[in-house]
Symmetry: C2
Subunit: 569 residues, 2 copies
């Protein structure tokens, strides 16, 4: 970036079969000094579509973003579903590596089949992403994909995501976690606009294998109760989980001080779908073209206009029940503010909840929560606290009940009520992240087997197996939700592997998945070790081992020795 | 604290020969879970006078404070020179261990020869320590010693020291570093008032050995150029170093962006002594009774009244040149604010400098710096950022040039110009701390040998040797400044060991010092390891390896392998 130089390089042979998370983590591991300052000159931002992304494989529009995280101090991969991912794939780009730091203000990288160039982007500095995305789509045409960072990233905030366009061209699809927005902004890169016009498309080395696999996977997705049209995700979006997890007693309320509240149903997927319908909104919907599941939806204001973009389960929970807020319109506005500022909603909701515990606001005060978002926009000292995330806010406000692992805030499942997910929170190289090994599938939804959420036994193994397979799925470009189907339907999993073999010309089998996944995890864990993280960082916060969570009145009691066994066996 | 229970226990046999730092670090290591939240229920605050403290051994009025640090996340010992230390010693108290967390507001512990009791201290919450100390001395009499925490500790600030009385009864003697004030405040303990009336005095098992040793040490202190009456420290106080270190090119200016500025002489010890004299102030002076060196002084306002307490070199530098401020009156007021709020001056000055780099104020703007102190007093969001120290402020304001190791701010010697001290900053278990292995003595003052400050060779060994002997001195209760004499005069060192043998009834020799010191360091390093710190934490900040420091235009270039050898050989 300091030279404003764009170089195109052939893919080195040893990286040829990688994609998505496997590729970003390998490049970060190879090229970023683990001890470097995440916002200094030596960090890099790596953006890579999945292996099959850009093909017509179903539900495969994912893009991974990697770098050293300013939030966790370790390696980070965050991914999003967006047409931007597919455009990169169609352009034949395996990865973008953003290096150095601009000395000429913010830049916009425009790329297409005709090449790439950098242009000045300072005009968009300091304005909200909804407005910026509108202007960018006006300027570059409605078919482009847009990746960008908001005010939060410009503030070097440890809570700052990388925004991607949704299908309406709004900045509502996020590689949100771990502060990668600040990594991008501190390179001096504000936006990437990608155009697929004239793009050659993804090279598929074995069309027949690919086509067969594609069909097997699509069939599985259309068959499984969770993923099929009219199934749980399609009917109510991810927010269908609100009632389910509340029922289980694991939906964190008011900064993880309870696991259940009857008002949660006010913000459930069922309620949301009803309101969108009543207000004339559009649903179901998809995050990127070619999805079979279509779990996304467009939240719609009372007046039926000015859509916010999707309200996902995690966002509804973080900005809702975890802050004592049980009103979808308020949550919608909070989510819009996060999207507009470039914040990860999970981190932002946890930060507000911790601030509420620190008496910055009362739990349930949605107006004040919205005011807090404006503090960030204005760059006030309070905003500077909040933009740095949950652990930071906890220190600032003297709060010791801070739900973080490796500095990253916990998602929407309390590990005292659903214990396997706690093993994932603790041990994934990413900091607390449900998507890294979604034990909820098995513990609550009975997918891929069954396990009592309150029991401790076998949870280390469950988490490890899921972390391995997830690392592979995050590399393929398939949405993690395809796992619901392929964990239960062997032909679906075979189909997934077939499509990968089709694209790469490899002959992988489903038996290879654990080892490939473990290799990715090993790469990530070695980076973290070299960055100074230890098994002492693989721990849930102290209060979760000591403070009982109603209604089950359980603590997190999986022995630390079990946590350490996840990656030592 | 939660039971308001005071227990007196005999000293276990294995702790009998320990004191000061050796004792606090051993108790913390034995009793505090390394992974605990520093401000949660499991941390403890340990206060221990040195082995000879309370006797009439010269210059031995030190008290150590230990606990898990909220600033570094590791073990912490900070010590101060104060009559409070001597009162503890005379009362026959080896250590105070403060456990649990009060559920009844802030408490005051009163202790004397007649026993101890807790009383409500909420009346003093939220007010400045100068006012509180005045009231406490009115209430308890002028001969007591007072230990306390200020508003910074009450805010759970990671920059919050433990204050002790000076000989005027002002809160100007600090065990400042590492946030132990917040550890004390979060126990619910606001003040300790100790009364030596009727105290039995320190038990001396071998009076003759003690007396002989005492004389040998006193003679050495009176002979050495640095420590003798009329010598460097006695004539100009610690602030004598301003001109010396500025001359060497290692006096950090404006957040470590230069190593020399001619205006530094405006705040030198020579200038300070002159002004105190002209204003009718008192000097030289001592921090605690029985000191031969008498390097302390009472800064005096223009009107000749309202003494601030001592202005030490580190404080003058941190609040002065490092903020671009070259005016002793302004620095005096800033130091007064730190004392009043309960802040460590080194950390506070660095925090202001980083905030200035983050454009919160201009370098050199003393009025604004004073305003920032009031932000802390008022508990504003900006104050909450500043009270959490330098690294925290760096994150808040998006600054990447942040001079910290293990989260603790660097003292007044730039390691690019004086490289041995950089080894100490990097490798001491305490976070950046010059007192942990004061290589300046050898590199600049030619004490204990000579070494070129700009050369890298031999600095690992120099730092290790000094860290070992310092750990022992910090345990004896002797002021670190006795080291100037005993490093050069073998009889002085023998005398020091004789006094320890006299008190303990042991037969240690000077040859035992390295091993005893290493044992203490090993205990501390093992705690840190178990708390999750690694050799990756034994590093100076990235910018110091890359950005040249004028006037020598050097970077810190001691290889990391050398740093790792300090404790591996």
């Amino acid at each position: 970036m300091e030279e404003r130089e764009i170089k195109s390089e052939d893919v080195p042979e040893d990286l040829e079969t990688l994609g998505g998370r496997g590729l970003t983590s390998t490049i970060v591991s190879d090229e970023v000094p683990p001890g470097c300052h995440p916002l200094g000159p030596h960090n890099k931002l790596v953006i890579a579509p999945g292996i099959v992304t850009g093909t017509d494989a179903p539900t495969s529009g994912r893009v991974s973003v990697g770098g050293k995280s300013p939030l966790t101090g370790g390696i980070k991969e965050a991914n999003a579903g967006t047409s931007f991912a597919q455009i990169l794939g169609k352009l034949g780009i395996k990865a973008l590596v953003v290096e150095g730091q601009s000395e000429n203000g913010y830049q916009l990288l425009r790329m297409g089949n005709d090449g790439a160039d950098l242009m000045d982007a300072d005009d968009w500095s300091g304005i909200g992403l909804y407005e910026a995305y509108d202007e960018l789509y006006d300027k570059f045409g409605e078919d482009v994909g847009v990746c960008g960072v908001g005010i939060a990233g410009e503030m070097n905030g440890a809570n700052s995501g990388v925004a991607f366009n949704d299908v309406e061209g709004m900045p509502s699809r996020y590689a949100g976690r771990g502060g990668l927005g600040a990594v991008m902004a501190s390179r001096g890169l504000k936006f990437i606009v990608a155009d697929s016009e004239g793009a050659p498309g993804v090279e598929i080395r074995d069309e027949e294998t690919f086509r067969k696999g594609r069909k097997k996977l699509a069939d599985a997705l259309r068959e499984h109760d969770v993923t099929k049209p009219g199934g749980a995700l399609n009917s109510y979006g991810t927010d269908v989980l609100i009632n389910i997890i509340n029922e289980v007693g694991g939906l964190p309320q008011r900064n993880f001080s309870g696991g259940q509240d009857e008002r949660s149903s006010n913000v459930s997927g069922e309620e949301k779908a009803e309101q969108i319908k009543n207000r004339g909104g559009e649903r179901p919907h998809h995050c990127s073209p070619g999805c079979v599941i279509r779990c996304s939806e467009v939240w719609t204001k009372q007046e039926g206009k000015d859509p916010v973009g999707v309200l996902e389960y995690e966002s509804v929970w973080a900005l809702g029940p975890n802050c004592g807020i049980y009103d979808l319109d308020t949550i919608g506005e909070l989510n819009r503010a996060c999207n507009d500022l470039g914040l990860d909603t999970i981190e932002a909701g946890n930060t507000i909840a911790v601030a509420m515990e620190g008496r910055v606001a009362e739990f349930g005060d949605g107006d004040k929560a919205l005011d807090l978002m404006e503090e960030i926009r204005e760059g006030t000292p309070l905003g500077r606290i909040l933009v740095n995330g949950t652990e930071f806010a906890g220190k600032a406000f003297g709060v010791t009940r801070v739900p973080t692992v490796k500095g990253q805030a916990l998602p929407a499942y309390d590990p005292r009520a659903i214990k396997g997910i706690g093993v994932t929170y603790a041990t994934t190289p990413m900091g607390a992240d449900h998507t890294a090994g979604y034990a909820i599938a098995t513990e609550v939804m009975g997918v891929g087997g069954e396990a009592d959420p309150l029991k401790t036994k076998g949870k280390a193994e469950l988490s490890r197996n899921l972390q391995q397979s997830t690392a592979v799925i995050d590399s393929t470009g398939y949405c993690l939700f395809t796992a619901f189907a392929v964990l239960d339907i062997p032909e679906g999993l075979e189909g997934m592997v077939d499509t990968v073999n089709g694209v790469l010309g490899t002959d992988l089998t489903t038996d290879d998945i654990p080892e490939i996944g473990q290799q990715i995890l090993d790469t990530e864990r070695e980076f973290n070790r070299a960055a100074g993280l230890t098994k002492e960082d693989d721990r849930l916060p102290e209060f979760m081992r000591e403070e009982e969570l109603p209604p089950h009145n359980e603590v997190f009691d999986i022995p630390t020795e079990e946590l350490d066994k996840v990656f030592e066996s």
